[in-house]
Amino acid sequence: MDLNYSPQELAFRDEVRSFVRSRLPHEISRKVLEHKRLGRDDYLVWQKLLHAQGWMAPNWPAQYGGAAWTAVQQHIFDEECAEAGAPRIIPFGVNMVGPVIIAFGSAWQKQHYLPRILSSEDWWCQGYSEPGAGSDLASLKTRAERRGEHYVVNGQKTWTTLAQHADMIFCLVRTASTGKRQEGISFLLVDMRTPGVNVRPIITLDGEHEVNEVWFEDVEVPVENLVGEEGRGWTYAKFLLAHERSGIAGVGASKRELRMLKYIASQEKRSGRPLIEDVRFRDRIARVEIDLMALEITNLRMLAAEREGRAPGAEVSMLKIRGTDIQQTLTELMMDAVGPYALPHLPDAWGDHWLGEHVGPEYAAPLAARYFNHRKVSIYGGSNEIQRNIVAQHILGL
C-alpha cells in the first residue's frame, strides 16, 4: 500500500502546476479565489489557453484532439486547476456531449462538432430536465416529430445552466410515445439560433442568473443532428453519466475554499481574538477539514481501482454525496465567519468594475449569496437522494 503518487505522476503534476502558474491570468484566478462573478469571457479565455496547450479534453482519445490522460492524471489536472483558482471548464461540451458524439455520433458530427468544442467556438448547454421531469427524467415530454429531413421540436427544458451563453444544446426528446418510456427517447443536437428556440432566465434565491428555461416552438432540426439511432437516447444519456464523474468529489476546489475559510477566520475577531482561535469555530473548521482528508483518500482509492480496470460505478455516487456535503459546509462556515457582514446585499460588489465602497470586509460581500447558491449542489447532477437510490440498488442490491 502506498498513498503517494508515482514519480511519473508527480512529474505530471509539476508540469500542470507550472503551466497553471504561468498561464492562468491573475485577474481571472482572483475572481475565482475571491468569489467574484465570472463572465462568459473569463471561461473562454481559460479554455482557449488550455486548447492551445492541447489540454482542453483530458478524457478524449488523442485521434480527436484529446489529451488521452489516465484517470489519475485527469484527477491531478482537476485538482491543480481548482486549487490555483482556474475557472471550472464548462462541462457540457467537452465532458458531456463530446464523449457521446465520439462514441455514437456520425462521421459528420465528429468532424463538425468536436473541433468546435475543443476550440470553445461552440458553447454547449444541456437540455435534460423539464418542469415535469426532474429526478424522474424518463417522464420527459418535449416532442420531436420527424417531418421529411427535419425533426420538429416542441416543448420546454428547464434548469438549463448558462443557456444564455450557449450556441448549442443537446436534448433528450421524445420521438415515440408507445412502448417503454425509455425507448421513446432520442438524443438531439439543436442550434440555439434556430427560430423557435427561446431562452428565459430563472433568477435563483441568491439573485443570480445562472439557469434558464429553454422553450421550443416548432423548432426545425435537421435529421443529421440526431445522435446515433432514434429511440436510443436513454442509453446514450446513461453513457454520458458515466463520463460526467471526473472531478465530481470536488476535492481541489474544496481545499481552495478551506484555505479561504481559514484566512477569513484568521481576519475576523471574536472577543478581540482571531475567530480561528475560538474553540467552537476552530472545531467546526477542523471537522470539515478531516472530512475532506478522508474524501481525498476515498477519491484516490476509487481512481486506483479504475486504473486497475475496475470501472467505477455507483461508487461515484458516494463521492458526489460526500463531496457536495463538504462544499456546502464550507460555504456555511464562511458565511458564519463574517457574522453580521454577511447581510449586506450589494450584488454589484462581486461583479466586474465595481468602484463603490464595500460594506465591511471585501471578502464578506459574496458569502451569503454563495451559501444560498450552493444549496444547489446536493440537487443537481442527480439529487443526493437519487444518488442514495443508485448506491442502494447497484452496490447494496436492495
Binding site: 481576519q267 478531516i290 482528508m293 476515498t298 470586509p361 442514495r388
Partner: protein, 396 residues
C-alpha cells in the same frame, strides 16, 4: 499510489480469517468472555504461531518487524471477529513501547517473549480524575537508595488483571500537567504495594484499577530516557490509535453486512424491509461512513510509520476523530435498522456497537483529537487577497 495489500499480506489475512472462523465464532467468543480468565490461551498461542505477536518485534528478536499496514490487516480481522484477547494492550502497546524505547537488555529479554506470546503486558497511563490527556500524570516515581519508588493510581487499565508485567507512566519531575518529567516504568504486579481490582468492561474485555503504594522497583525498570517519556508515550498511543481505527473498520464492515442481510430478509408489509427508501438511505449512509473510515484507517496505518512527528500526530488525530464519529453513526444506524432485534444481547449487532463505543473514547475522544489536530496544523492561512480594508459607510 496503491491501495492493495501485498501478496504476503493477503495470505496472512486469509489465514487469520480461517483461524478466526474456526476458533472464534460468536458462541465461542461468548464462552471466552464468560470464562474466568477473559481470554483463551489456545487462541493466544494460535496468534503466536501465525506470527501475529511478532509484528512490532524486529527480526533479530524473533519477530518480523512488520509495518502499520500489517497491524491494520490484523486489527481489521479482529474487529470483524470481536477478538477480546489482549492483543492491543500487550502485543501492540507494550510491543511498540519496548521496541521503540526499551534498552538493549529490555529488548533482548522481553521482545522474544512478546513475539512468542509467552508474556502478557498491560499499559497503564490514565488516572482517576484525568480523561485522555497524555501530559496529565500524578503518579510519582522517586529515587531512593538507588531504587525507584512508585506511588499513585492508574484507572481503567485494559487487561491489567492478566498481565505478567505492567508498563506505567509516572512523574519523575515537573508539574502534574507538564509533558516534560514523565517517565515510563515496568512494574511487576506481584510486587508488594501493588493493589488491583479487576472488572469486566461493556465490550467484553477486562480492565483494572491499579494502585501503587510505595512500590519499590529496580533501577533497570525505567524504559527510555528519564523525564523524557512523553514522546514515547505519544508514539505508542498513536500506534494504538492506528490499531483501533482498523479494528473499528472491521466492526463497521460487519455491521454493514449484517444490516444489509437483515434488510434483505426481514419481511414487513408483505415485502423485505430493504424495499423501503427510508431504510435504504440509512444503510447507504452507513456504507459511506464506513468507506470514509477505511480511508482514514489506511492513512493512519501509513502515517504511523512516518518520521515526521507533526505529520504523524495530525493524521492520526484526524483518523481517530473521523473513525470515532463514523463508528458511532454506523453503530446507531445498525441498531435502528435491526429494530427490536438490534436491542438484544443474542445478536452480534449490539456487541459490535459496544466495541465501537469503547474505541470511540479510547486514546482520546473526538474533542481531544480535534485539539491535537488543530495544534499540529502545519499550513499557514495564505491567500492572494489584498489586505481587506475595513471601511464604514452609510448606505444611501
Amino acid at each position: 499510489m496503491d491501495f492493495n495489500y501485498s501478496e504476503e499480506q493477503v495470505l496472512l489475512r486469509e489465514s487469520i480469517g480461517k483461524f478466526l472462523q474456526k476458533n472464534y465464532s460468536f458462541e465461542q467468543r461468548r464462552a471466552i468472555i464468560q470464562g474466568r480468565e477473559g481470554m483463551n490461551a489456545a487462541v493466544w498461542d494460535g496468534f503466536a504461531s501465525m506470527g501475529l505477536h511478532g509484528i512490532p518485534v524486529p527480526e533479530e528478536f524473533g519477530g518480523f518487524g512488520g509495518s502499520g499496514l500489517d497491524v491494520m490487516l490484523v486489527m481489521e480481522a479482529f474487529g470483524r471477529a470481536l477478538v477480546v484477547e489482549p492483543y492491543l494492550s500487550s502485543t501492540i502497546m507494550a510491543g511498540y513501547t519496548i521496541a521503540l524505547g526499551g534498552s538493549d537488555a529490555q529488548r533482548s529479554i522481553l521482545l522474544p517473549r512478546i513475539a512468542d506470546g509467552s508474556m502478557k503486558f498491560a499499559f497503564g497511563h490514565g488516572e482517576p480524575g484525568t480523561r485522555y490527556e497524555l501530559n496529565q500524570v500524578a503518579t510519582t516515581a522517586r529515587q531512593e537508595n538507588g531504587m525507584w519508588v512508585i506511588n499513585g493510581a492508574k484507572s481503567v487499565m485494559m487487561h491489567g488483571g492478566l498481565a505478567d508485567l505492567l508498563i506505567v507512566s509516572a512523574r519523575t519531575s515537573g508539574e502534574v500537567d507538564s509533558p516534560g518529567g514523565i517517565s515510563l516504568f515496568f512494574v511487576n504486579p506481584a510486587e508488594s504495594g501493588v493493589t488491583g481490582r479487576e472488572y469486566p468492561t461493556y465490550d467484553g474485555m477486562r480492565a483494572a484499577e491499579v494502585g501503587f503504594d510505595n512500590v519499590t522497583i529496580s533501577p533497570e525498570s525505567i524504559i527510555g530516557v528519564l523525564d523524557d517519556g512523553y514522546a514515547l508515550l505519544e508514539a505508542v498511543t498513536d500506534r494504538g490509535i492506528a490499531a483501533v481505527c482498523a479494528e473499528a473498520v472491521g466492526c463497521m464492515d460487519a455491521l454493514k453486512d449484517a444490516t444489509l442481510d437483515y434488510l434483505k430478509t426481514r419481511q414487513q408489509f408483505g415485502m423485505p424491509i430493504g424495499k423501503f427508501q427510508a431504510l435504504q438511505h440509512r444503510l447507504v449512509d452507513m456504507l459511506i461512513q464506513t468507506e470514509q473510515a477505511r480511508s482514514m484507517a489506511m492513512l493512519a496505518a501509513v502515517k504511523v510509520d512516518a518520521p515526521d512527528t507533526t505529520e504523524r500526530r495530525r493524521c492520526l488525530a484526524a483518523a481517530k476523530e473521523l473513525v470515532g464519529r463514523a463508528g458511532r453513526f454506523v453503530g446507531q444506524q445498525a441498531i435502528q435498522l435491526h429494530g427490536g432485534m438490534g436491542m438484544t444481547d443474542e445478536l452480534a449487532v449490539g456487541h459490535y456497537v459496544k466495541r465501537l463505543a469503547a474505541i470511540e473514547t479510547m486514546f482520546g475522544d473526538g474533542d481531544l483529537q480535534v485539539d491535537r489536530f488543530t495544534s499540529s496544523q502545519v499550513e499557514v492561512a495564505e491567500t492572494p487577497l489584498r489586505k481587506p480594508a475595513r471601511k464604514w459607510k452609510n448606505l444611501v
